[in-house]
Symmetry: C2
């Protein structure tokens, strides 16, 4: 049974705090194993990657088979139905259109002192995208990671995707092709992350690694961080729906379940100001749980982590929602824009009952890689910015240096950094025609 809470409960704050600090995921401690794998790949390169791929994916291949050939990719893509292809292409087009608007601008200006200042953005030279294999192979994730990289202008984008027992997903190949991915390697696990970060004889290293993965992949990403950039380490996913009583309970129930069906550690939360509606949604959830294909997973997630909170009014709902800082937030209320304005922390907001969260997973345009586990308090979803870096620019004229240089000398002296001050003074002396110069 999901947890029922009312903000009027005497122990509401206690219950909410317990919910917020609950850990929904057991991360197995695989760090030692991962450290060994990374060291092995660094030491032996391709040979280590091949050994580990034989061991974990039961794939007996040679170094020149690590990368999918164009012909292999073509053959796989040919298996995709025209309906699936059209859907993937529409999704790609919409995701691209959204992310193009995110591109930041370079700036340069000259201030009154004559100093020219600014910055410029450049893409990383090479990025690697980890794509999980096996059951949870999501072509939509390929689009969501690869398209922002290519919009950012990353010249070289490599994918690693394990193919246990040789099974490759045609839709993943098509998503990679549509996104403009340059290289696809049939490897996975910590060995794939190590190969991307450090390179091997067959795989050139990258500067940034993104994409979801299991505990081994997450631990490997943490370990190579610093050597390369990484995106966030995602935790279990969550949805919070704020709904008033004027909703179809079935719509809200299936929205909650669309999160719950992902895996057993996901969390679905309903906030409503209508207790009768809350009961109707719960009943509808139970109804769907009779027939849903992934009902075992969804039921476990709902019973272990589901929460229904009755609030006094929508203002209170906004306050409670901010405590969760949800990854996905649906606002199924009469005036979703007004309620949205009261929300401070959320990864993505879906406004109005006609915007189910699943639209955001696939086709809306915004990215579906979003901050989980309350990290929307301080971080954002994946964007083109993850594949860009900013270089600041400063150019003084002699006059500008004369205007602001003495203050720099003063501060250098205050911080006891003499050479800092002298580097300014040497120039100012020239300007003043100092006879020592």
């Amino acid at each position: 049974m999901p947890q029922y809470i009312d903000t009027q409960d005497a122990d509401f704050e206690t219950k909410l705090s317990a919910l917020l600090s609950a850990k929904r995921e057991d991360s197995p401690d695989v760090d030692d194993i991962v450290a060994g794998i990374i060291a092995d790949v660094r030491a032996r390169g391709d040979a280590a990657v091949l050994d580990l791929t034989a061991k974990f994916d039961r794939m007996d291949i040679t170094a020149d088979q690590l990368r999918f050939s164009s012909a292999e990719i073509d053959a796989l893509i040919a298996q995709v139905s025209s309906e699936d292809r059209a859907a993937l292409e529409l999704a790609a087009e919409r995701i691209r259109a959204y992310h193009v608007r995110q591109m930041p601008h370079d700036e340069q200006w000259t201030d009154p002192e004559g100093a020219t200042l600014g910055w410029r953005w450049t893409p990383v030279s090479a990025a690697g995208l980890y794509v999980p294999g096996g059951l949870a192979t999501y072509p939509s994730s390929v689009l969501m990671n690869a398209i922002p990289a290519k919009v950012a202008g990353v010249p070289r984008l490599a994918i690693t995707v394990p193919t246990p027992d040789g099974a490759a997903n045609p839709l993943v190949m098509l998503a990679a092709r549509i996104s403009g991915v340059d290289e696809i390697y049939r490897i996975g696990g910590a060995q794939a992350i190590a190969a991307l970060a450090y390179g091997t004889q067959s795989i050139a290293p990258v500067d940034k690694i993104t994409g979801p993965g299991n505990a081994f992949v997450a631990a490997a990403k943490r370990r190579v961080f610093g050597k390369v950039g990484i995106d966030m380490i995602a935790g279990p996913s969550e949805i919070l729906v704020i709904a008033d009583g004027d909703n179809d309970p079935d719509w809200i129930a299936i929205d909650l379940l669309s999160q719950a069906e992902h895996d057993e550690s996901t969390q679905s939360i309903l906030l409503t100001d209508d207790p009768a509606f809350a009961r109707a949604v719960a009943a509808s959830v139970d109804k769907f749980l009779q027939t849903l294909e992934r009902r075992d997973i969804a039921r476990k997630a709902w019973e272990d982590n589901g929460v229904i909170i009755t609030v006094r009014d929508l203002d209170e709902a906004a306050v409670v929602s901010d405590r969760f800082a949800p990854e996905h937030l649906e606002l199924c209320v009469a005036d979703p824009d007004a309620l949205s304005a009261k929300i401070t922390h959320a990864g993505a907001i879906f406004l109005g009952a006609w915007t189910p969260e699943a639209i955001g997973d696939y086709i809306g345009g915004p990215n579906h890689v979003l901050p989980t586990a309350r990290s929307a308090r301080f971080s954002s979803g994946l964007s083109v910015l993850d594949f860009l870096k900013r270089t600041t620019l400063a150019k003084m004229t002699p006059q500008a240096l004369a205007a602001i240089g003495p203050a720099a000398e003063t501060l250098a002296r205050a911080e006891s950094l003499e050479a800092h001050g002298l580097s300014v003074r040497a120039r100012l002396d020239r300007l003043n025609g100092d006879p020592d110069e």
Copy 2:
């Protein structure tokens, strides 16, 4: 003696690779100690912080003395000379003017299908800034961290600064006051990071922690990452100067030394196309090393880590510089803008001989918190973006859902996520007047 390399050397690539992979800093493994400190602060709150402050900073204080009072801050600030105050205020003004321009814009638009899409930026609710105490207390770092936070609109900004034996730096207090810092706590080390991340009875938790610190602070930041956001973990600093033969060797020598004087693990690199100029700079460095206040530190840094590379021409200098992806890059050449256009990786570029790097440390306007150890390949200096997070927005109309919803259903089916598809289908059925609805 610094290392001398010529790109024409037969073993140039070997030497360069060795340089790039060299670790200039021994990070002592303090992780176990830090884990214990964090657990203690989480368990005992103020009491743990007070015990640790007594132990490490020899400060016997009570919980209500953890925070500097306004009167204490006023008294310290009163000790600052008017010259120092004016310099700090000019620096603050220029840093603020630069960072205001970094503020990203919210966007919202409606696409041809009728979907309203966009995003909005909001500041983190509370940020904490670590300021080192003791010898390396830099008021300029307070400005560089605090001003972007306040420009971003962070409503609550707390500083922790240890005051070993009670010694507080008046300039740090003034920098905090000028920047608009809201709370200042006289604590440091891993216990300060733990208090900021988890809160104590006297210190409310924050959502983001930035600022430099020693090995204990760095390890603590790594550990609390996830619970809160953190900025980068900075490594030893470096400067790379590309200079042609038409420069005053003294200017370039003192610029190299302004990096070397920071600490013994810093690196100063000169790239020049003029071997005679290279020798002149080296001689000038030796001359300055006779008299510089911090000559022992600077000499050790220069002898251990200094590098002089002779290149064939400036184009080759740009290529070699990109391999280093330097934190600070000075372009002391006739046409610095043209050379800058050839650079891909650098934290900050200083254009022309009239722009010594020290200007960027204090007063230029751009941030001096920059990516070190080649991480400019994938990351950027501190900016207002570090204190903001982006929430994506999506709002469908019934017509928009009808236009793009079926593709989402197709993709959900392809990924075997039935409830995802049903959440779209339930709405489309209503639209189609499905009799089951």
